[in-house]
């Protein structure tokens, strides 16, 4: 459990930091690396990556929204053909991030398991 928490927190922090320097797809690499080295259990790794990136993106989006205008976020939802509500764009964001984070963590753990 401790290992899970540490991996998740480290993943979230590292991904957040690296995103300011590198393109968004770094979130598909960070959970992979951490899980490959620290959390080689596939089920836990998926959950860790899922939560780490999902929560990090949720937090960042919430912070952005608190400073700006929720109507604009609703407009963004409409632009990508979702119902015109801020919550839809928020959920799409969190889901996309979490899914990629989870798959990344899972892949990392599966790679680790291949080692003899």
């Amino acid at each position: 459990m401790k290992r899970f928490l540490i991996t998740t927190i480290l993943t979230a922090l590292a991904a957040f930091g690296l995103e300011w320097l590198l393109p968004w797809w770094i979130i598909a690499i960070v959970p992979f690396v951490f899980c490959a080295f620290i959390l080689p259990k596939p089920g836990q790794a998926f959950l860790s990556g899922f939560l780490a990136i999902g929560l990090m993106w949720a937090g960042t989006a919430a912070w952005r929204m608190s400073e700006g205008n929720p109507e604009f976020v609703a407009a963004l939802a409409e632009v990508i053909t979702l119902p015109p509500r801020a919550s839809w764009f928020f959920m799409a964001t969190v889901f996309a991030g979490a899914l990629i984070g989870g798959l990344s963590g899972l892949s990392g753990a599966l790679l680790a398991k291949m080692r003899p």
Partner: protein, 819 residues
């Protein structure tokens, strides 16, 4: 097995990431790079700006000579204070790009015919056709010539280069995170700016303001109506044309032989080879009703005893706004006003000595010629009885996701061949070459460079001498009391007998390239009546010695001149009311006539509507219902009167509202009124009755269940729309009155795009507003922040600071640029 599991998981991860990192198409639907977009750190979320914008206090910018201080006021107007003029224009480029980069980049791409490079995946063949047409129209070629002209002049070259360097300094600082949102959505990146792009932007404006020349449509009208009717409906000076820009009776201070005067008034017969209608034109930028108002009064007419100048250019109501407010200050300059993102300088504004504003000249400055080829290879064409060799321009159009297309454009002495069997004219026998005054080398930018620091009438004239296309009516007022107006632009000297339409090609006799001397363009300084004005009407009366045609206004000009004649002791408050005046002159003339032609029986069951009209004061105020009733009736009346045009496969040009009124009033029994597809013979009265019935039915269906749907602002539905027509970033149902041909010219998609009032009392006091906001970012609180005040007829005081200290003391946000 272990390997397989890993492989499967990694493959799904990779596929999903790549998918979300790229844009692609599903059937015909464009899917943007969704992962990139929803990323809250770098994606669209990052385009959301806090309402309290905090500027970085100091920026190090390569390429500056010294320090520049920017003071952003509470509406986000930058007040630029530089130690050199070069730095001032550099900073203008930088701050403009920081607010409007995508828009300026996009508009210059549109001008150049390079949209396919970025928009082809989203818009497909439509955008490719647009690009091909732009190349054929010579936009890129003429901008190149214009940029060369700019760079020949050291002053213009310095300004254009400094502005360009400033924009590039901004682009160099951009990461994906702070790219304007549209780049992220369409998945491309900005390219470097250059003086050519500024030239393209000015050509874009020229095209917008002159591409509705009416030529093909009016040529078709002469095929549709008999000559007598066509001459009446499309008269050069319709009966009773009053109130030209230069007051009737003003003597011309030059002499030209009368044989070049407006003698031959009718269209040359169309060449026999062409039996059908001329093809439908594509005027991609034109919106019906583009026009503008400007006027100035002398001290004798104003309360303060000092001149007041007003300007409101009417353009498409777009977001990001077409204008960007700015104050520019250097040791040589201190100027404030509306600038066009993409071009240096202020376009409509003032300094402490003078103020100026623009309206469109509206004269026909494009001519079309039929080309007679020797054979299908098009390598030779008929010219003065012999065969002349054709030149070909090979223009490569790059297309995102597809092989480039080479557009092969024949060039003749008459101009570029725009309409050819390969484009637009399938089934039409002849190719059409186009000549346009925008092809005449001129340095329009220099007009603004000089005007921005002009001190008096002589400086104003000197500045104007550089302006070629689009011809504009430049109104002028000076702190010393002078007022003036001049229609400036390159206008060709047409031979006697020339009429708009298609000119017979193939001979130097009907081809003309000589320009009327600028000193002979319509101009008036300090007229006795104490005011000057323009509203896209005829620049002169018929005594002007040169021939011209155009789509002229007949209503706003008369209302403006009436108000300026009737009133004295005018002040800024009066001018505000006047710019927002909703008096509908069209209705005041049409309605009594139309009402007299219908009977009470025609209103049966709709007496309430009749009563609304009868008690109407002819003001198109936002909440009134009468304007909707009248407008609906008028539209149906025109459509039924001109049913001749129904089903015409070719360019259409309906007669103007004023000529139509003359027809109804003076020729109610004209056969033009008779409808083609009825057995009966209709006259004007019958058309009034029949169109009323249609209008009443339309109004009933609109107001069913929605009693207030006929309130004028709901009926006309003024909208301010994002340039890409993205609905969530547009504003609809703006609560505003007015209409076309009303001083407050707010129609559905266009209107007063910048209202400015400058009074020279106590130095200079100025007020202004435009329907948008300083920021072009839909995620900014300043994106559409002024629309509501604009719709309500309110103004902001324009903060014209004498120096940086005054700007600093005014509670602005300070930013320093240094090198």
């Amino acid at each position: 097995m272990k390997f397989f599991k890993f492989f499967l998981s990694a493959a799904i991860l990779t596929a999903l990431t790549v998918l979300l990192n790229n844009s692609f198409k599903v059937n015909t639907t464009f899917v943007p790079p969704l992962g990139k977009l929803v990323d809250p750190v770098n994606g669209l979320w990052a385009n959301m700006e806090p309402a309290e914008l905090q500027f970085q206090k100091a920026l190090k910018l390569e390429g500056l000579d010294g320090e520049v201080h920017i003071y952003w006021d509470e509406r986000l107007v930058p007040h630029v204070f530089a130690q050199t003029t070069r730095d001032m224009f550099f900073a203008q480029g930088f701050v403009t790009a920081s607010m409007r980069l995508w828009q300026m980049d996009f508009q210059t791409r549109a001008a150049a015919g390079r949209l396919s490079e970025v928009l082809y995946p989203t818009m497909g063949e439509k955008v490719l056709k647009f690009d091909r047409l732009q190349r054929r129209n010579g936009m890129l070629a003429s901008a190149r010539a214009s940029a060369a002209e700019m760079m020949k002049d050291p002053l213009t070259a310095m300004v254009a280069q400094a502005y360009s360097d400033g924009i590039n300094a901004y682009i160099a600082r951009l990461s994906y995170r702070n790219l304007p949102l549209e780049y992220k959505l369409l998945n491309y990146r900005p390219e470097k700016w250059s003086p050519l792009k500024s030239a393209l932007l000015l050509k874009y404006m020229a095209q917008m303001l002159t591409d509705n020349d009416g030529d093909l449509g009016i040529a078709n009208a002469y095929k549709l109506f008999d000559k007598e009717d066509a001459d009446f409906l499309y008269a050069r000076f319709p009966q009773g044309t009053t109130d030209p820009i230069v007051p009737s009776g003003t003597p011309w201070n030059f002499d030209v032989p009368r044989d070049s005067a407006a003698s031959g008034d009718s269209l040359p017969a169309a060449p026999a080879a062409v039996a059908g209608f001329y093809p439908e034109m594509e005027n991609p930028l034109y919106f019906e009703g583009i026009g503008s108002n400007n006027w100035a009064v002398t001290g004798a007419k104003s309360k303060s005893g000092k001149p007041i100048l007003c300007n409101d250019p009417h353009l498409a109501l777009n977001l990001p706004s077409i204008w960007f407010e700015i104050q520019l200050c250097s040791p040589e300059y201190n100027v404030y006003g509306a600038s066009l993102p993409g071009s240096p300088c202020v376009i409509s504004g003032f300094n402490s000595n003078i103020a100026w504003g623009v309206t469109n000249g509206t004269r026909d400055v494009r001519d079309w010629y039929e080309v007679e080829w020797k054979d299908a290879s098009k390598s030779e064409y008929k010219w003065n009885g012999a065969w002349e060799r054709t030149e070909f321009e090979q223009d490569t159009i790059y297309i995102k996701g597809k092989d480039p297309l080479v557009e092969r454009i024949p060039i003749t002495r008459m101009g570029r061949v725009v309409y050819e069997d390969s484009l637009m004219t399938e089934g039409f026998g002849r190719d059409l070459a186009m000549n346009w005054t925008a092809f005449i080398p001129a340095n329009e930018l220099k007009t603004f460079i000089l005007m921005n620091k002009a001190m008096n009438h002589a400086d104003y004239i000197t500045a104007l001498d550089n302006f070629g296309c689009p011809a504009q009516n430049f109104v002028f007022a000076c702190a010393n009391g002078d007022i003036a107006i001049k229609q400036q632009g390159a206008h060709l000297k047409y031979p006697a007998g020339t009429r708009w339409g298609i000119l017979k090609g193939g001979s130097s006799e009907s081809f003309t390239s000589e320009v009327i001397p600028y000193s002979q363009n319509p101009h008036v300084l300090n007229p006795a009546r104490g005011f000057v004005s323009s509203a896209n009407q005829h620049p002169t009366d018929s005594t002007y010695p040169y021939i011209y045609d155009g789509m002229f206004e007949h209503y706003r000009n008369r209302r403006i001149n009436y108000l300026l004649t009737q009133n004295s002791g005018m002040d800024v408050e009066f001018m505000k009311t006047m710019q927002n005046d909703n008096y509908n002159t069209i209705a005041s003339e049409y309605l009594p006539l139309m009402l007299s032609y219908v009977t009470p029986a025609d209103w049966s069951g709709h007496e309430d509507r009749l009563n609304v009209l009868k008690s109407w004061n002819y003001f198109n105020d936002a909440e009134q219902v009468a304007p909707a009733i009248f407008e609906s009736w008028l539209r149906h009346f025109k459509a039924m009167t001109y049913d001749e045009w129904d089903g015409v496969k070719g360019e259409k040009q309906l007669p103007g509202t004023y000529s139509t009124w003359l027809l109804l009033k003076n020729r109610p029994f004209s056969k033009v009124f008779d409808m083609k597809n009825t057995a009966a013979t209709e006259d004007g009265k019958a058309i009034c009755r029949l169109s009323l019935a249609r209008a009443l039915a339309e109004l009933d269906s609109l107001s069913k269940g929605q009693a207030d749907a006929l309130q004028w602002y709901k009926f006309k539905n003024t909208s301010v729309q994002h340039i890409l027509q993205l609905k969530p970033f547009s504003r609809f149902g703006i609560r505003t009155g007015g209409n076309y041909s009303v001083i407050n010219a707010c129609s559905d998609r266009w209107g007063p795009s910048w209202r400015m009032i400058v009074s020279f009392e106590d130095g200079v006091k100025a007020y202004g507003i435009y329907p948008g906001g300083q920021s072009g970012n839909p995620g900014s609180a300043y994106y559409a922040s002024m629309i509501e005040d604009w719709a309500g007829g309110r103004y902001y005081e324009l903060k014209f600071f004498k120096n940086a200290d005054e700007a600093a003391a005014a509670g602005t946000q300070h930013q320093k640029y240094f090198h």
